[in-house]
Symmetry: C2
Subunit: 309 residues, 2 copies
């Protein structure tokens, strides 16, 4: 099998290049980066000289060799995914497969469907992990298959063999669920991080007063801030976040008002109703206890190592 | 050593009763609960028949045996901690130690200082863990010592022997740091939980689409909702949360406006500035990667166990 990755010099592009290579696939990368060949050499994969930006602007044609592939994986920033698909989709060979790994699914699935002929397989995916993840083992990847064939089956089997959990959704289901899971979680953690700055709160100094739960949350805030801000801006602006943001802001405003007015009973009632809606909070305690216990073990281990130095 | 715990039938009271008993201390509990004796018997500790509520209302006098103790630990809800201290403080014997475990420190420290004579040792503490925690090992306990003597040294040594990390702060430092670490984190997670309800979001169904980081955060939300809502209301209303809430709300409102207006550059700039302020985001990535990796291992382990059934 031959896989060609557009955006193959980027974070996730490289991740999948290495992954496919480890799975005995012939990998070729295409990227606007001037370091593309160097990066390809480091990974031991091939690189193609295609000026994808010029091709998108219609200044050069998509060269035959970019679509001379079994799988074409589009791994470019979310805001240009659509234009890349419009550019390469019509050139794809019958029986090949076009896939993307964008965090939103409605728009790219619609574009992939419209700009390819019906003998091209189409698989929208959303890997629920980032480029620092060590392996596919235990990671969830959402599949939004539009046209399935033998290449779909191959990809599906390969991902599963590597320990991925594959979940099938429609593009609409995906975007509705993910706008809460990812969109709202990011929104909250980023707001937290910016608030720490606006309060001029000294995170490093405060660490020793954080019990493991707070430390884990603080690390998640730092984790998001460390990563590509453009990606997070794109997720916020590409999902339909309006209603979700507004609901959160209304809740936070109400809690603020209840607290400042000392309305303890109403505050408690809000928590009770949220608990009833949430469902199995006892399991949440048990599962988070395990994570917290492990964080404690890790801290003790790191302290011992520090002392041994 | 003899330790008497007021509120010894409650969650944290029982936790410390068991802890002290395991450390060969003679433990006695006092509680308004009608099940106090039963609970004491279960734990293998003594119970005292003192109607603490009546005593607080001045209807009965604090009996001699409640203060016939080395250490008097006040482990009652935060909103009555002050009144309990006012009631028992003046009766305490010279050379004994009065301590509390309230999440706020300014008010109880001030009250303990005012309502005891100067030969009574005073130790404000804030254990950064809840009653579901298995042991003191690796847990942080903040100490706000006001009057230290030999009992302080004993408690300090015992907690450290059990693996606790003791951090010393003034009451003012404690409340300032904790209003962000605990107060703001709770505020954000509870707002998240109530938002899930208001959006009628199906948490259980969405779990399989959560990568480990989102699962951990969702478990933390459930964890908070599962616990005593009164405690969380008390933490919000007893810290000085006004400025912190207002700063957070202003940030979340600004992000909402930036996203809805598609102002990607400003959004990115906010993230960049927050990253610079935060400090070592790379370490946050490394540390959170470890937690995430462990969550994956736990999930795989639980799945295997599930299959074996």
């Amino acid at each position: 099998m031959k896989v060609t990755i557009i955006g193959g010099a980027g974070g996730m592009g490289r991740w999948f290049a290495v992954f496919f290579k480890q799975n005995s696939v012939e990998v070729r990368i295409v990227d606007k980066s001037p370091r593309t060949k160097e990066i390809a050499d480091e990974m031991g994969v091939q690189s193609l000289k295609v000026d994808i930006l010029k091709a998108m602007r219609g200044e050069v044609e998509i060269k035959e060799d970019i679509v001379d592939t079994d799988v074409l994986l589009v791994s470019v920033p979310i805001n240009i995914t659509g234009r890349v698909i419009e550019c390469v989709g019509p050139e794809m060979h019958d029986g090949s497969l076009l896939m993307d790994i964008t965090s939103v699914k409605k728009a790219p699935i619609e574009t992939m469907g419209r700009f390819t002929n019906e003998d091209v397989e189409i698989l929208g995916t959303h890997p629920l992990f980032g480029p620092t993840t060590k392996s596919m083992r235990g990671q969830t990847i959402i599949f939004v298959p539009l046209r399935k064939g033998h290449l779909y089956e191959k990809i599906d089997a390969m991902f599963k063999k590597n320990g991925a959990k594959i979940e099938i959704l429609t593009a609409e289901e995906h975007d509705e669920i993910m706008s809460v899971i990812q969109g709202l979680t990011h929104f909250i953690l980023l707001s937290f991080g910016i608030t720490l700055k606006n309060l001029d709160f000294d995170v490093e100094n405060a660490r020793k007063f954080m019990s493991p739960m707070y430390e884990i949350i603080m690390d998640f805030v730092g984790r998001l801030l460390h990563q590509d801000p453009h990606l997070y801006a794109m997720i916020q602006t590409n999902f339909e976040m309006g209603k979700i943001h507004e609901t959160f802001l209304a809740v936070a405003n109400r809690l603020y008002e209840l607290v400042s007015a000392g309305k303890v009973d109403e505050f408690i009632e809000e928590m009770r109703e949220a608990k009833d809606h949430y469902g199995d909070t006892e399991r949440a305690v048990i599962d988070s206890d395990r994570v917290i216990e492990e964080k404690i073990n890790q801290n003790l281990f790191l302290e011992r190592k520090e002392k041994e130095k």
